[in-house]
């Protein structure tokens, strides 16, 4: 905790650009690859290579954003915490942080040392989850995106500007409804 505050002072004195983004080296895979039909189960692998701790903003949560065409979100592999703070990544569907930020679903870090702080880890963070294409007759939205959230956005840390990283869009397609090819009517 003390080290974090010392670093904070150093950062204030530095010429670090406050609008820099904190996340970099993001990769993702979808298995199987699109397009997707109703009932199909898709495995999403996502890795955040590096989280840069702007103003000692620590990473605290990953939010999964899914289009209306998805259902049955299931976590498979939680993010790691290499060199990070004491605590663990918890799978959660919804949480309201002290800042009032309504978050979820996804993983959020429970810092067992200092409540409402994220983890001091800079990554990499690799996670995996499964999602299912919901039954539908229409080309519903199947977008998949990820939000990476630092603890200055959640109210756990407020010394300096927060990261302004954009949402990462992993997929932006629609359901491919099953085609129904009825044959002609035959008469015996």
């Amino acid at each position: 905790m003390i080290a974090r505050k010392i670093l904070m002072v150093l950062l204030i004195c530095s010429s670090f650009i406050a609008t820099s983004q904190c996340i970099s080296n993001q990769t993702s895979t979808l298995t199987p690859p699109p397009p997707y039909s109703p009932g199909q189960v898709v495995t999403v692998n996502y890795t955040l290579g590096t989280f840069t701790q702007l103003n000692l903003n620590w990473i605290i949560a990953f939010q999964i954003n899914l289009g209306a065409g998805w259902t049955n979100l299931q976590p498979v592999i939680s993010p790691g915490n290499p060199g990070g703070s004491a605590g663990f990544w918890m799978w959660d569907l919804q949480n309201t942080f002290p800042s009032g930020l309504n978050w979820g679903p996804g993983w959020r870090f429970i810092n067992t040392g200092t409540t409402n702080w994220g983890t001091g880890s800079t990554g990499p963070f690799t996670m995996r989850y499964n999602i299912t294409v919901a039954p539908t007759c229409t080309p519903d939205n199947l977008s998949i995106s990820m939000n990476v959230i630092g603890d200055c956005l959640t109210g756990g840390w407020n010394n300096g500007a927060c990261c302004t990283d954009p949402i990462l869009i992993l997929y932006n397609g629609t359901v491919l409804p099953d085609s129904i090819g009825t044959s002609l009517i035959n008469h015996f």
Partner: protein, 188 residues
């Protein structure tokens, strides 16, 4: 052709017949639109290629009554006796496992009600009488029939004549009576 050649020819014929059977079973025979049925026919079967996970909603109009098979790919229909061309008399809409409906598949049906003109009774020596079936275009058959005529010279009796068209039939009975048996002229 020697024994070996005969054996090869028979094998080729067998394979050809097998292919014809497989082709027929695989692709079926598509009913030409409009379909033709006989008036008051019962248990006429209509079907489309089955998709096991689908359900089928059938609608029958034109004086027909759906008897069995609703929700399946095959139904039976009892037809009424009103002759005419009934547009879209048989309709099916397939829905897949997700409940999504496909495009309606339609079949027009011509209900064919045959009739024949009443002729006779005849006496021996009467001239040939014309046979008239409705609608025209069918064929007459039976004892004493030649083309579209009946010849009473066929002899004394009651004859059932059949008028056939498009697989439908109707019958009429024709009577040929015997003439009086007059004795020889006597001279008192």
């Amino acid at each position: 052709m020697n024994y070996k050649e005969s054996k090869q020819a028979l094998l080729a014929l067998f394979i050809l017949m097998l292919l014809m059977i497989v082709t027929t079973l695989s692709f079926g025979q598509t009913t030409i639109n409009p379909d033709t049925v006989c008036a008051n026919a019962i248990g006429e079967q209509y079907f489309v290629t089955n998709t096991p996970t689908s359900t089928y909603n059938w609608t029958v109009t034109g004086g027909g009554t759906l008897q069995t098979g609703q929700t399946t790919n095959s139904i039976t229909v009892d037809w009424g006796g009103v002759m005419g061309l009934w547009i879209n008399a048989v309709e099916v809409i397939e829905s897949n496992a997700a409940g999504c409906p496909g495009a309606p598949i339609l079949l027009d049906v011509f209900v064919l009600d045959l009739s024949g003109n009443a002729i006779g009774p005849f006496c021996p020596g009467d001239p040939t009488a014309g046979l008239a079936g409705t609608p025209i275009g069918g064929t007459w058959s039976g004892t004493g029939v030649a083309g579209n005529n009946f010849d009473p010279s066929v002899g004394i009796g009651t004859y059932m004549l059949t008028y056939t068209m498009a697989g439908c039939t109707t019958t009429i009975n024709v009577v040929v009576n015997g003439g009086p048996v007059t004795g020889p002229i006597q001279h008192f």
